[in-house]
Amino acid sequence: MSNLETFKYDDKIVRNFAIATSLWGVVGMLVGLLAALQMVWPVLNFSAETSFGRIRPLHTNAVIFAFVGNGIFMGVYYSLQRLLKARMYSDFLSKFNFWGWQTIILLAAVSLPLGITSAHEYAELEWPIDILIALVWVAFGINMFGTILKRRESHLYVAIWFYIATWVTVTVLHIFNNLELPVSLVKSIPVFAGVQDALIQWWYGHNAVAFFLTTPYLGLMYYFLPKAANRPVYSYKLSIIHFWGLIFIYIWAGPHHLLYTSLPDWAQSLGTVFSIMLIAPSWGGMLNGLLTLRGAWDRVRQDPILKFMVVAISAYGMATLEGPLLSIKSINAISHYTDWTVAHVHVGTLGWNGMMTFGILYWIIPRLYNTKLHSVKMANAHFWIATLGTIFYVIPLYWAGWTQSLMWKQFEPDGLLTYGNFLETVTQIIPMYMLRALGGAIYVAGVFMMVYNLWKTTRKGKVSDPEVSAPPKEKIVSGKGEYWHKWIEKRPVQMLVAATVLVMIGGLVEIFPMIIIDKNVPKIESVTPYTPLELEGRDIYIAEGCLGCHSQMIRPFRSEAERYGDFSKSGEFIYDRPFLWGSKRTGPDIHRVGNKYPDSWHYNHMLDPNSMSPGSIMPAYPWLFKRKINTKYTAKKIRTLQILNTPYPENYADIAVKDLELQAKQITANLESQGIEQENLEDKQIIALIAYLQRLGTDATPQIFVEEK
């Protein structure tokens, strides 16, 4: 007995993360609901700060990094201590992790509605927040590895492998996708441009799904499912294969977000092949989870926690089958830019992440408060409501996606588009958007029930850090023939190195050639840098989040050439920092909208979209007509772009603002000649935006397209 060491688990930190998970879940989903309603009733775009383009990144960031993020920390801090039989390495780091993360979330909740964004999807936060994220994430890493090193259990359970891979990969992704030069405290310019920026962004975006929404949650599944079912995982061997297969294949699949775009073919093919291969480990993991419950299905029927987990794992299975299918070019041609993708991700988020989080919360809260769940009946009701909400959310959106895509591609016998007016394809699916909002509302209602139920539970419980005793870690003795496995599995540092190497191979092989081989991006001689006014207009476009609804990437299909003009070439984007290809067409593609309409059309359309396009669901942007163009940083932007090899004439920055004013005057005069009257119009933001919109896609025409040999 004498060699037993007595210590306490730190459960306060777990409780804090659990509370944060629930609260941010409610907030993030309510913002999502608002966005869903705005797509039906554009009047709900109350102000600049609440307009769809700014709300949408707020929603995605809140549910991914606030809701799921806190959920990850909650689950990791709980399971890691128990699996390793050790208290967290440092209480200070735990607290720093918690309060740092909440600070980041608050900063995001303020900066995104203010239009402070880097435009990289799921990495919108600007550089000072990026640095804070890095600090907190590193603190989490040190805390985790410190705990692993001082553990009392020599074997590392597979859940911990998933945590380690998560930490490594997110670190790498975060750094690469946020390489940017600051212009001001709230504005930066990415180091990479156009196609390269797009590739890195989607390598990131895809792996944010893989290594933030998937691998940590798989780790949680491998811990909490056996816990809740009170039986070990079906096959531990399968879980190891699941692990290595998944982390290795996932990292390559990013380019499937860029099929049929200006990305070189070889990169697109790689994305497809690896995406299809992903089915194998994903389904291996799903089966492993479900089979854990074999012979215990009678308990699943009664226990809401197991029910949540079963549906979560099934949703994981569905989403990971659908994902690879969407990566096949011919299917992607239909699905991309439509609500099909939105439905797909919500199977993953509402189904997999949401339900798994709810299951874990219902399991963990009574244990953290040494009591029983307030109402099992209510938890059961929540389960059905959540399932119903998910179904009501995704089915209408699948329908909307298919309907709209087919309408986009339909031709008349005489060779004209059947629905030449894009808006027709939007109004067609508004009823589906209503149903989707209803589904979302149902789902959120369930979350409110859960919060109430859990709150009641905490009221009657009492908290204490559980005190336990365990023998110190035994010395490692290798059995015959298992030397190498022990070498890896018992040594977290080797494990870390192996995971990093695997992840880096995938990343580097894809990205390096893109960056160093110039020939991947054929030059187009007529493409020139943006003028200062266009540059400011472009930054307004970014701040307003127009790219949440508009793509700037015409794919090489007849239906798109007919509707939008000649397909987009990679050489057209070499001065685009950041790239703005977008990923969803709630509105039409606008890569070649330049010169399509007179300036006055845009003026009226931005002031009230309905005046030019009756029935439009695009928000109105009245504040652009009052706010002045900010020219304080124009010169600095030009200088920064010059550092990044954008060929402005020498010392151009000094006269940039003068140039800007000149062009603004021209556009104002133009508008006046078209009958638009407004006082002091030339210094308003709308002028810069019009300058940018009218420039779009006008540089390149097929005739002067020069392929480099």
């Binding site: 190891i240 093919s269 092989v509």
Partner: protein, 62 residues
Amino acid sequence: MYKYILESAGNINWMALFALLTFMFVFIVSAILIFTKNKKTIQHISHLPLVNEEDLNIENRK
């Protein structure tokens, strides 16, 4: 179907080949390692989540 999928994947060049080979290597090595592993160890590891606070608590053990 299989052929169709491969075809729609387009020109698979050395990148894909390299990726596939590394993947096979990693996969085979991890498979070999796990299947040559001692049964008792696996049993032990897979039961790690099931250890409860009470099992570790001296009061309860007495």
